[in-house]
Symmetry: C2
Subunit: 341 residues, 2 copies
């Protein structure tokens, strides 16, 4: 018996992948693209280009078939799964899935934190953002927009509204008690990407393809991702089992909100929302949509973080210094909704 136990101890100790308590143990990780369509371009002149200095010339034909309007998804599947459904994290405007990765100041983001909590997490780049790629002017006639340094600082409740940005960091007017890691604002700006104002339908279509591929699921939506997420959920209410909307920048169609009667929803808001007209407007839209869901027989919980004693959160709550605390608020809500084993 003693010998058998020794053998058992040795067998356990010899397992190739022993993990420590802080390790992330995955049964799988990978990525894919989903959605998209073929666009045809014709009648444009071809030309010779040199792709790499010193290399041979080759033909560039701007005509033909192009793959456009696909989106990118990366997934991480923990060995010890506790979330009953995949958790899909959708980013906001001018951003990519990087929103949920390491924070600008180098802490773990919600991707890691929710994988550690046992969720299968799918982080994506919407159509036109990041690894989704974007289409040529022959396919999308409008121009992309670009964010200057002042824009997110003043608009995302990092600084105290318009005029709060200054190139001299000592002169920036940060909102009092702000949780955003302002010292890493340069890194945050590096995460921003151009966006178009004309691609909403394509974005929604690709999200629908994603939902059809990996759901039933829970959606975690941020900002512009909320507007897309609610529209998608109205069309796939059987597959969206819960929604966490983090400062959703507008919502779905009030007339279709009843579709979410079986989709419990959490709306989460940071600090200083009511004092900033832009966010007060979006919040009003969100709450009207929440009322419409309730009128249709559904349930919506609204958490204003300052009301539960969590102060100073910017619009980028998942990157704020207390992002782990907010992740716990969301996790507690999901546990309460029976979404965790």
């Amino acid at each position: 018996m003693g010998r058998m136990l020794i053998a058992a101890v040795l067998a356990l100790a010899a397992l190739p992948a022993r993990a420590g308590e802080d390790d992330i143990v995955l049964r799988g990780m990978g990525s894919f693209h989903v959605g998209g369509r073929i666009a045809e371009v014709s009648g444009r002149p071809a030309r010779e280009i040199v792709r790499i200095p010193g290399g041979p010339p080759s033909k560039l034909d701007p005509n033909g078939e192009f793959m456009v309007e696909q989106m990118y998804v990366q997934y991480f599947l923990p060995r010890h799964r506790k979330g009953k459904l995949p958790l899909l994290m959708w980013h906001g405007g001018g951003l990519t899935g990087v929103t949920y990765e390491t924070t600008p100041d180098g802490r773990e983001g919600w991707l890691n934190l929710f994988v550690r909590k046992g969720w299968d997490v799918y982080v994506s780049d919407a159509v036109e953002r990041g690894r989704a790629g974007f289409a040529s002017p022959d396919v999308w006639p409008s121009e992309p927009i670009f964010l200057n340094y002042a824009d997110p600082f003043e608009r995302f409740r990092i600084g105290d509204g318009e005029g709060s940005w200054n190139a001299d960091s000592a002169k920036r007017k940060v909102l009092p008690g702000n949780q955003f890691p302002v010292e890493a604002y340069d890194n945050y700006m590096k995460q921003t990407v151009p966006r178009w104002l004309s691609t909403d339908k394509a974005v929604v279509d690709a999200y629908l393809a994603l939902v059809d591929k990996v759901c039933p699921c829970v959606l975690l939506l941020h900002s512009q991702g909320g507007a897309f997420g609610f529209k998608v959920a109205e069309q796939r209410s059987d597959k969206i089992k819960a929604i966490v909307a983090v400062e959703s920048a507008s919502a779905g169609d009030v007339g279709k909100a009843a579709a979410l009667k079986n989709t419990p929803t959490l709306m989460l808001f940071g600090d200083h929302v009511d004092q900033h007209p832009r966010w007060a407007t979006y919040k009003k839209i969100d709450l009207e949509y929440a009322a419409a869901i309730r009128a249709g027989g559904g349930t919506v919980d609204v958490i204003n973080l300052p009301d539960i004693g969590i102060k100073g959160n910017s619009h980028m709550l998942m990157q704020d210094k207390n992002n782990a605390e907010i992740a716990d608020v969301i996790q507690t809500w999901m546990v309460g909704k029976g979404l965790v084993e």
Copy 2:
């Protein structure tokens, strides 16, 4: 003694993160952006835009300071590290780090395979690609180029050269014995992204910043990434301890190749290279560069995969059906160079 052993067995069994043999066990994973500069734009008219239909209008100011020319990096650090140095995977033209993730037909890519071999792997998106973002026409005056469906098929030795593409898949002329997963060519096209022909210096500058942040290291370069990688290695030869160049599409500056005298290099080529003038030209450039490294006292090994019995590889070797076999060829070379514990 028996009781102590039982206790020991129970203690081992109770560890929170027990991993199975196929699991990926990470001591950390995350991402960051690196490099970049602030570009100033002035004198352009501001306008009002509505960012999200139904939302409040806001000012879009195309003037100001913009963060441009940064790059994106994602890293995976295995618990049981065996590679002595970080392994940096740099993608080719019109592509992103997705090159190294799940293959278009859903198998594990070199990212997963080398993490499983115990390497700290850093997969990146070069300046202007994917999650690196791109700059406005006010900063980069030239237009990006876009790849149509025929282009990589005919150019990357998937099809048999020019004219081999056909929109009707039954009429496509695939190279005989080709290892590329042609049935998933749609998914491959979804991975392609636009690129510019004018940003080479910015790309190299960001790669230099990456090397300064995470090296000493080993570089694994593909295609256009080879041209960038050798240029970077010439300037940071103390930090680049080995190079694996997978069908490098041109190389560095022959006059500076001697800088690599202490950087053992492997040049790897797939099948049908000599019969396709484009790739024969690049190979000639690579071999001339290899000769210059050797003349400077360095060592370069050249493996033509067909010469060692590995046939049918396209330009996208890391996605070909036998990608695991080629990963093993690279691993064996790295072991031979003393890069593995």
